[in-house]
Symmetry: C2
């Protein structure tokens, strides 16, 4: 256990650097706020580098022994702790978690038969990405492919919107559209792109196969042309009012629940 009260402390500086993507990628670590999520990370076998408490929280913590046994505990003065947190009502506890168990390679991913996956094409809004991760978890999706240019899933704003679901999914970072679709096809995925034009109504049940990869595009520009050309089918959600489009996380949510419904209704 270690107590830190100086902003010049090396370890504190290291933790603070993890608020930036560059250093998260260097260290392969991210900061996860909230007691419940930190406990889940410890219990679910995530590699936890350390658990950081604010001084005031540590003083009233009832399970000190537990944390001291399970992890490397660091106590920060309340002032320093505030520099690490994004939420106004912080619970005074942050897990420093390794990327390791939350990333995998496309070629080595253990896709399970009958399980759908997501591919996010340059999604930009952290709130949208976090919300999509939360809905993916809810609907049983375990793998999320992130096309280069998508916001970092370990960004603190994304983490907050995931409501802990960050721990229940695996990310696959990819750069090449063509290679990615080839691998997905070789693994038997039906690749479905959401689009506004030249697309089948999402209630057309023949769209869905046993194992689908659902693509969600960039908020402003949708899915790239090259990805649209490579997909197996384009699908659209009907808009009967005056709205021009849907929020990306809502469109993704409606589609993920559609995939789940189809799966529950029939055996392929």
């Amino acid at each position: 256990m270690q107590e830190i009260a100086s902003s010049q402390n090396k370890l504190f500086k290291r933790y603070k650097s993890l608020l930036q993507k560059k250093y998260r990628e260097e260290e392969h670590l991210f900061l996860l706020e909230g007691k419940r999520y930190v406990d889940t990370a410890i219990q679910s076998g995530s590699k936890v580098d350390s658990v950081i408490f604010s001084k005031v929280t540590w003083e009233i913590e009832k399970n000190k022994e537990y944390y001291l046994t399970m992890s490397n505990v660091v106590i920060l003065s309340d002032e320093l702790f505030k520099e690490l947190v994004q939420t106004e009502q912080s619970q005074g506890i942050i897990g420093v978690i390794s990327f390791e168990s939350h990333l995998c390679d496309l070629s080595e991913a253990d896709f399970k038969t009958g399980k759908d996956i997501l591919l996010l094409d340059r999604l930009q809004d952290p709130g949208n990405l976090g919300t999509i991760i939360r809905t993916a978890d809810a609907t049983g999706i375990e793998h999320i492919i992130l096309m280069k240019g998508t916001v970092d899933p370990f960004n603190p704003k994304v983490l907050r919107s995931t409501a802990g679901s960050i721990l229940n999914v695996k990310f696959i970072f990819v750069e090449s559209v063509i290679e990615t679709i080839e691998v997905l096809h070789s693994k038997g995925f039906n690749v479905i792109a959401t689009a506004l034009e030249e697309a089948l109504d999402y209630d057309t049940e023949t769209i869905y196969h046993q194992q689908n990869c659902l693509i969600i595009g960039n908020e402003a520009n949708g899915i790239s042309e090259i990805l649209l050309d490579a997909c197996d089918v384009r699908v659209k959600l009907p808009i009967i009012g005056l709205a021009e489009s849907l929020n990306a996380s809502v469109a993704a949510g409606v589609m993920m629940y559609k995939l789940l419904s189809v799966k529950r209704m029939r055996i392929f």
Copy 2:
């Protein structure tokens, strides 16, 4: 047309006060950013009190005559304009719009046969409310009842998330749960509450009638007990992963698209 460069100007102060709920309610006006939305407001017959331009935007505006004919035009120095806007990339135009055509009383609302409506029970997050308004518009819902304690729909953060759909729906503010449900029943609505417990799976098609009122609850506490007791049926979205709940705007979106699908599939 009027040009303003002093922050002490009375009219500027009046506009600035509209960033606060208290003054919006006093004046029955709200500020809507963005050229497309201001144009829509003018064309769709919203009562537009005035159109505010930043000086730089007015100078390059090609349709000066149009705005001068259609509305009271006010030019603010770029510095003053910035004080009114919430978005970083502002388009330099704001409509000052009257609540009037966007509010109605529960007893006088022109509910149309076969049209569903929403009831939001103390929803707190501006982004969630805006996104729900956008999806409501997309799925053909025109009336949204807001239970006392729900975030103000004319809050700038809500407006941004609606992506212009604020102009396509009508709000009904209510205080009494019992009276509201009585009126809804007298008008033939089937009142559906989303809940996590003691609820039917949302894929149970008999849940849905010709005309439904869908209730979405507070992000942290869900729907109040009294409202749950007064509704006709409780419905839940299945969660098969480890997520404990869904984001409110995603849950609302999935349910609104379910209502739309049911409506498209059969004639009641």
